[in-house]
């Protein structure tokens, strides 16, 4: 019995043994595959760590001073609407040699002699012996740079230097502005777009046109000489989208010279200078009356006085021949002061103030550069309403004037003046009602075409020019000086306005030698400026400008707009 039981045990052991052997075989195979996978895992882990390291490491160059300089000076280019450079950062490369790092001095000298045969190599060998870094070639040509870099010697150290250049010199000085030695914008677009210019390499396209800017500036410079003006300004704006095609303020300066300008006469007269502009405001008075439905161009004003008093001050007509009975249209054409006061009084303070605010005339305006003037604030009252309705005691900038005239003539759509070209078409919001533009535009045209009008010198054939003149005395401490601000706000073609051109002359004088050509087809010439008014100064400038830029606008801009 006991034997049987022993056999049974042996049989059991035999089974156990077989089972263990089988399990052992499986383990060996499994471990081999696991080992291979483990090796692969380790390799891939190392590779991944290496990749992560490569991805996260900073370039050696970034710690180098050389690149720091490059980054500090990095600044995007600025071009006009046609892609012409207005501001550009250009680089030049200086080549230095660090003798300690030279791999093979003989070979390097031989190669350098081949590329730069004119250099004094005895002196260079001396420098090699000194073991100190030296500049080998400054502002190297592209061709030689390529040749020297092909040598692949570690000791050759190129250093890129960046400079901001303004190829148009004075032409856009007040728009582009200046940068300081640390590449920080200190005026104009260089200041307002400082961060964008530094961070984004993408070229910034402006709305201005280099050729039109040049032609307008030429005329302003010429007439500054003729009328001995202290300065002048002009803005040419697209009335439908607020794009500024030209903005000139004189005197200007060459941006490449990087002068520290402290003279106040170099103020941006187009955007920063705040002036009382006189009769150009009468257009807004009439427009406000039409907008509010109080006045129509045919509305008659009877028994208009030649002189009225308000708060102890007198308001009189410039032209004593002006009739006592006038329609609203005739008041604007003949630039009647008392008539404008009566229109203003009919509108009332609140509505007049609201209209001026809607046109952005008496509050500060958002613009692409920071040099924007803030109109002098004042307390509205009966006398203020009276003077403001003919453009006195109320101030604004030339930019705001151009913007307001654009809104008046474009169908009453709100626009924002801009210098930066945008790809998206801005939404147009109508802010004026009662067909203001349809009623005002023909009146502006009559100011240029009729004998009673004050702007016949701007009647250029084919351009359908309309506009309003403004002659104002400059304010001085405690009153007004004899010096004048002569302005002409023009729009053309007045049948379907596309452009607003404002010209302002700061303290012009009459010129007894200047010859005027009447533009009524008579061929009559007139020598000498008879009166120091906008009609004889600013209007003549606008006429000359439109004659020059008109063909460009008619041919080129007709396709664009």
């Amino acid at each position: 019995m006991s034997n049987r039981s022993n056999k049974f045990v042996l049989f059991e052991n035999d089974d156990d043994f077989k089972y263990d052997k089988k399990r052992f075989n499986i383990n060996i195979r499994f471990n081999r595959i696991a080992f291979i996978f483990f090796i692969f895992f380790i390799i891939s882990l190392i590779y991944s760590i290496h990749l992560v390291h490569l991805g996260s490491r900073k370039s050696n160059l970034s710690t180098n001073n050389q690149t720091k300089i490059i980054n500090i000076l990095q600044r995007a280019d600025i071009v006009d609407r046609n892609g012409n450079f207005l501001a550009k950062t250009v680089s030049s490369i200086d080549i230095g040699i660090n003798p300690i790092e030279i791999i093979n001095q003989k070979k390097l000298l031989l190669n350098l002699r081949y590329i730069f045969p004119e250099k004094n190599y005895d002196l260079i060998q001396e420098k090699f012996k000194n073991k100190k870094f030296f500049w080998f070639e400054k502002k190297i040509s592209e061709e030689n740079y390529e040749k020297i870099m092909v040598l692949g010697d570690k000791s050759i150290k190129p250093q890129e230097k960046l400079t901001r250049i303004y190829p148009q010199k004075n032409l856009f000085s007040h728009i582009i502005g200046q940068i300081d030695e640390d590449n920080i914008g200190i005026s104009g677009l260089e200041k307002s777009l400082d961060e964008r210019l530094k961070e984004n390499k993408e070229t910034i396209k402006l709305t201005v046109d280099k050729n039109i800017q040049f032609l307008i500036r030429e005329e302003l410079v010429k007439f500054n000489e003729i009328f001995k003006s202290k300065g002048s300004a002009s803005i040419l704006m697209d009335v439908n989208n607020g794009e500024i095609i030209s903005l000139v303020s004189l005197p200007d300066f060459d941006l490449n010279e990087r002068k520290n300008i402290l003279d106040k006469n170099f103020i941006n007269r187009a955007t920063k200078g705040v002036y009382e502009l006189g009769s150009v405001f009468k257009t807004f008075t009439l427009a406000a009356g039409i907008h509010e439905g109080i006045i129509e161009p045919e509305t008659e004003f009877k028994n208009l006085e030649k002189k009225i008093y308000c708060g102890g001050n007198s308001i009189s007509e410039y032209d004593n021949e002006i009739p006592n009975n006038l329609t609203a249209e005739q008041i604007l054409i003949r630039s009647g002061n008392i008539g404008s006061v009566r229109i203003g009084q009919a509108i009332g303070i609140e509505k007049f103030k609201k209209f001026m605010t809607q046109l952005n005339l008496i509050n500060s305006i958002q613009f692409d550069i920071e040099e924007v003037g803030v109109p002098v604030s004042f307390k509205w009252g009966k006398c203020k309403l009276a003077t403001a309705s003919y453009g006195h005691g109320i101030t604004t900038t030339i930019l705001q004037l151009a913007n307001a005239y654009s809104i008046i003539v474009n169908g009453g759509y709100k626009i924002n003046p801009t210098l930066i070209k945008k790809n998206i078409k801005p939404e147009r919001k109508k802010i004026l009602k009662n067909n203001v533009s349809k009623k005002i535009n023909p009146i502006l045209r009559k100011i240029v075409t009729t004998k009673e009008g004050t702007a016949s010198l701007a009647n250029i054939e084919g351009y359908d020019v309309g506009g309003k003149t403004g002659t104002a005395q400059k304010s001085a401490a405690g009153g007004y000086s004899k010096n004048k601000i002569n302005t002409f706000a023009s729009v053309f073609p007045s049948s379907n306005p596309k452009f607003a051109l404002i010209v302002m002359l700061d303290e012009p004088k009459t010129n007894s030698e200047y010859i005027y050509n009447y533009r009524d087809g008579s061929g009559i010439k007139y020598k000498g400026t008879p009166f120091n008014t906008a009609g004889w100064t600013a209007v003549e400038v606008v006429g000359q400008i439109i004659e020059k830029i008109g063909p460009i606008l008619a041919t080129k801009y007709n396709e664009v707009y």
């Binding site: 084919g462 359908d464 379907n496």
Partner: protein, 104 residues
């Protein structure tokens, strides 16, 4: 047999990976050099454009006009400028206006 298949599979995977890596590296190099060339050419184009802008500035063109074509170039008024359109082999002349509305 299984050993052989596993070995062949692993070997082919290794070879395949290295071949793909090699071709990727070549592509990377090619992309890098093309980018570098592009930047270089772009800079060169911009420099040439700058030179062109400077040499063809309105100021210079007027100077050249006075120097070489003072009597041969005449200023034209808007009235003298026309727009020509060719439609069905017929030339149509439009008067040019500032408003952009064609007048036949």
């Amino acid at each position: 047999m299984i050993k052989f298949i596993v070995f062949t599979l692993l070997f082919s995977l290794i070879v395949g990976t290295s071949l793909i890596k090699k071709s990727t590296k070549d592509l990377d190099d090619e992309i890098y050099s093309t980018n570098e060339n592009l930047i270089f050419l772009e800079n060169r184009f911009k420099d040439s454009k700058l030179e062109f802008d400077y040499l063809s500035s309105s100021e210079r063109l007027l100077k050249y006009q006075k120097l070489y074509f003072e009597n041969s170039l005449q200023k034209k008024s808007l009235k003298e400028l026309n727009k020509i359109k060719i439609s069905d082999n017929e030339i149509i002349i439009y008067k040019l206006t500032i408003s952009g509305d064609d007048e036949q």
